[in-house]
C-alpha cells in the first residue's frame, strides 16, 4: 500500500490539494526507551507535487516536520480528470510516488 494519500477538492474554480504521508520523521535525537540508544534519523527530505507533467511544488524538508506529515496547497484552476502526482524521498533514499485524478 502506498504511503501517500491524496485528496483534492474543487473550490470556486480552484483546486485544493491535500496529502497525508505515513513516515516516522525521526530527527535522530530521540532515545529508544528500551535500549537507551538513539533512534537514527529517518525523515523525508524532498517532496514533489506535479499537476499533469508540470512540477508545481518542489520542497526541501527538515526533520522539524511532524510525524506522518500533512501538506496542503491551492492550485489556481485545475480541471476534473487532471492528474496530481506526489512523490517523496527520505534521507535513507527510500521513496514513494502516488497519483490521483482531480474529482
Amino acid at each position: 500500500m502506498s504511503t501517500i494519500k491524496i485528496r483534492t477538492k474543487r473550490l470556486d474554480g480552484k483546486t485544493q490539494i491535500r496529502t497525508l504521508i505515513s513516515h516516522p520523521m525521526e530527527h535522530g535525537r530521540n532515545m529508544d526507551e528500551k535500549t537507551g540508544e538513539l533512534i537514527p534519523a529517518h525523515y523525508i527530505q524532498e517532496l514533489l507535487v506535479k499537476h499533469n507533467d508540470n512540477i508545481i511544488v518542489n520542497s526541501n524538508l527538515g526533520a522539524g516536520i511532524s510525524k506522518n506529515p500533512y501538506f496542503a496547497f491551492m492550485l489556481k484552476g485545475g480541471e476534473v480528470g487532471d492528474k496530481i502526482t506526489i512523490s517523496w524521498r527520505d534521507n535513507l533514499d527510500n521513496s514513494d510516488s502516488q497519483s490521483r485524478e482531480i474529482e
Binding site: 530527527h27 512540477i55 508545481i56 496547497f73 489556481k76 521513496s95
Partner: protein, 163 residues
C-alpha cells in the same frame, strides 16, 4: 540518450532558475538524475544543519534584515498542547511568490521546510511542524524581487522532542 538527458536538464533548469541557489543546484543535477527519478534536486543539507536562528537566516538568505509584512498571514494556534504536531498555514496576498520558508526559532534546527511554488499555485501552504518549546514561528516569503516575513509566538505546553 544524450538528448533525453539534455531535455530533462532544460526542464529542471527552467523550474530551478527561480531559486536563489540555482548555481548550487546545477552541479548536483546530474547526480540527482542518476540517483533517482523522483528526486528532483539535491537536498540542501547546509541549510538544515543545527544552528542558532540568526545563522540559519544568514545561511538561507545572506541577510538577517527581512522586513515584516502585513500581507503574509500565519495561521497558528496561540497555545499548542502538543509540540509534536503544530498545524501551520501560510497565506499571502503578495504578487509573484516563489518560495515559502518556515522556521521555528527555538528548534535545534530552526529551518523546517522550503517550498518552491510554481506560478500555477496560490501563495498558500499548510503543514504540521514539531516545536521543541515555546518559540516564535517565522514564515519567510520570497517574491521575485524581495523577501518578507511574518512571525507569531506559539506557546508549547508539551515539547515536541518525543517525535
Amino acid at each position: 540518450m544524450k538528448d533525453i538527458i539534455s531535455v530533462n536538464l532544460n526542464n529542471r533548469r527552467n523550474f530551478l532558475k527561480k531559486t536563489t541557489v540555482a548555481s548550487a543546484y546545477a552541479a548536483t543535477i546530474m547526480t540527482g538524475l542518476l540517483a533517482s527519478e523522483n528526486a528532483q534536486a539535491e537536498w540542501l543539507a547546509d541549510l538544515f544543519a543545527p544552528a542558532p536562528m540568526e545563522d540559519s537566516f544568514n545561511h538561507s538568505f545572506n541577510t538577517n534584515a527581512i522586513a515584516l509584512s502585513d500581507e503574509i498571514k500565519l495561521k497558528l494556534p496561540t497555545i499548542a498542547e502538543n509540540g509534536a504536531v503544530v498545524p501551520i498555514t501560510v497565506t499571502s496576498t503578495l504578487e509573484n511568490v516563489e518560495q515559502v520558508y518556515i522556521f521555528v526559532e527555538k528548534n535545534p534546527v530552526p529551518l523546517v521546510a522550503i517550498f518552491d511554488l510554481s506560478p500555477e499555485l496560490d501563495a498558500f501552504v499548510s503543514a504540521r511542524v514539531k516545536m521543541a518549546k515555546t518559540s516564535d514561528v517565522i514564515a519567510v516569503v520570497k517574491t521575485q524581487s524581495k523577501l518578507y516575513k511574518a512571525q507569531k509566538l506559539v506557546k508549547v505546553t508539551i515539547g515536541g522532542c518525543g517525535g
